[in-house]
Chain length 163, copies 2
Amino acid sequence: MPRSAETASFKFNHTMLRVKDPKVSLDFYTRIIGMNLLTEKKFSDFTLYFLAFDVDNKFDSLNDEEKANEARSREGVLELTHNHGTESDPNFQGYASGNSDPGKGFGHIAIAVDNIQKACARFEQLGVPFKKKLTEGKMKNIAFMLDPDGYWVEVVPSTFGRD
Amino acid sequence: MPRSAETASFKFNHTMLRVKDPKVSLDFYTRIIGMNLLTEKKFSDFTLYFLAFDVDNKFDSLNDEEKANEARSREGVLELTHNHGTESDPNFQGYASGNSDPGKGFGHIAIAVDNIQKACARFEQLGVPFKKKLTEGKMKNIAFMLDPDGYWVEVVPSTFGRD
């Protein structure tokens, strides 16, 4: 089905998750997962962080304005929302992962990698907790990790012949 | 920060949401939102549907195997999970949107469009319910729609100078 003219410009720009502590989450999504922080927008009560993988190896050549524009116009952007104060509030209950009641609905985000054995071995070495390791369960070709808030991060092979 | 060799192949492949009725959700995400169904995988208890925008106008030239591969390897894929039976179960409570307690955590997915006035006028004409219309609230440059399960779908302008 060809795209209609009315939706021809549309892109799946981003997915938004709330996070308790941006320092912890930004470390996870940049150092461990490999995304880059493109831009952040601070408001009085909350701050938004926009991250993406540098799939075209071009982020280094962009200035701040161009990076902010990239965050708005491309696909595959992750928006993390930090409501100020949650990181140091002893009464903060944490966010629901979306995978159990009540709150079930959202499932996960997924990262495609070229060598899933190598990628998962590295994640394990870096101490990332797993919901399901590659070797566990029925499906030996995918893994589920937990991000710092407990959201599920699936790891899938991007090469053909996954299953 | 350049990408490390260890994460150089990584992409933000997909976001998964559970849906009550795939007929209703597929109609929403294809006819109204403009995505294409790339592939589906049926299991005994559930079916997975993988959708994406045909941003490179190439889906028509792909066979089923190539479309399935595309769903695994590109960014911007939406995975809808249908647990068989929810669509006709009078006791099914529905899924949490992630935007109120309990279950708060997941926020929304966002569609970037080139002409947000025109896009939102069309969505309104098609009867899509809005959480926040373009003209409502403080931020006049974004809108929030509700998908058939009540998940928030943000509409954002992809052109520079959004705010």
